[in-house]
Amino acid sequence: MHQPSNYVTALVSVFVMLLSGCVATNTPYDYSALENSRPRSILVIPPLNNSIEVNAPYIFLSTITRPLAEKGYYVFPVAVIDRFLKENGLPTPVEMNGIPLDKIAQHIGADAVLYVAIEDWGQKYQLVSSTTVVHSTLRLVDVNTGVLLWQATVRGVRSSDDAGAGLLGAIVNALATQIGGSVTDYTPGLSSFSNHRQINDSASGLLHGPYFNPDGTILWRTGNVRGAAVRDVGLVFNSMARGEIAAKSYDEELWAEALEMAAGDEQKQKEIYVELRSKQLANEKMQH
């Protein structure tokens, strides 16, 4: 690496860490398989349930379409798919998770499948308080190649001690459903919140799909901005001279400039930082 670019990156990273305190600076997520595959559509298979909460898979299922669709993917209608699979001799998620990929391609035509396993779910009651937990693992797989495209662990915990405290409490409470009229189930709200958070995580979230279009264009990365873990370029492009960035080949000065242009916009600066840092790591890797 050249000295100046290291210098710029170091400065930028200190600056951004000061700003946010929540940018992950460890090894960037490797998005190369996802970028090669570029799925347009995601089939969510009803989750396997390793928890003792019987309803967990379907509660989860009701909270996964929105974040995936808002990320820019076509998400197959989960309830229609569930019924379709049941009518075709697959009565439970266990069988559904074993469908061969070629059958999925043939009958559903999905580009990618999201396999979900619920690891822990529900409300644990202690003497004076209760804790709500959601915990699942997600694996996105390319239907045509079987390659793992993205994986994530979703965890959410809500304690009754902080019920109502702050906005998180307010949201989870608002999303809670009364079940049977007496018990309040906080897992739908917590699941919804946690899925959104994980899918949009700035270091290891899912890349944008083809429908994500803040400026009316399809925002997969443009060809000359290649690298290991570059993501959310669209948001950067959206606020600055998109054409100019796309037209020039990558160089770090340009990104430093972009960062300056995004001054005052913390979110965009974070995006740029993540991109810059991952690019730097990728370059280092190539030179070794």
Binding site: S20, C22, R40, S41, N55, Y58, I59, L61, S62, T63, T65, R66, A69, E70, Y73, Y74, V75, F76, P77, V78, A79, V80, R83, F84, Q106, H107, I108, G109, A110, D111, L167, L168, A170, I171, A174, L175, T177, Q178, I179, D185, P188, S192, F193, H196, R197, N200, D201, S202, G205, Y211, F212, N213, P214, D232, L235, Q267, E271
Partner: protein, 129 residues
Amino acid sequence: MKFVPVLRPTFLAFCIVAGGCVTAPQEHYYWGNYEALLLTMYVEPGTADPFTQIEKLSVDIQQAENTGKPVPPGLYAHLGMMYALNGDASQAEAAFYKERELFPESEVFIDGMMARAFARGEKQNAPAQ
């Protein structure tokens, strides 16, 4: 009905919270009752019968139009399923084809479903495709 305040009014607040650390741009789709229906039809079967769902989803479609936001992926297909469960084959077909029109990614699935329904003779007056 019990699925009253789910999601809609709180999502803005959610974006604000999430915005601290997460990319949460303004939502692209009008979500309305879709997620809440998915939840209740499994958790409290019987409270979200096809007729109720059709009613709610139709309101959502109207609301989406009013707000100028698109209807989310899957909503029309879900509506189609509800019409089918209600025995209304022509409305079901129209909704499924609307899904395919809005989201061409659904073509293989929708066409397969239509073909099988046709083969089973579930549709009496299906126009030739």
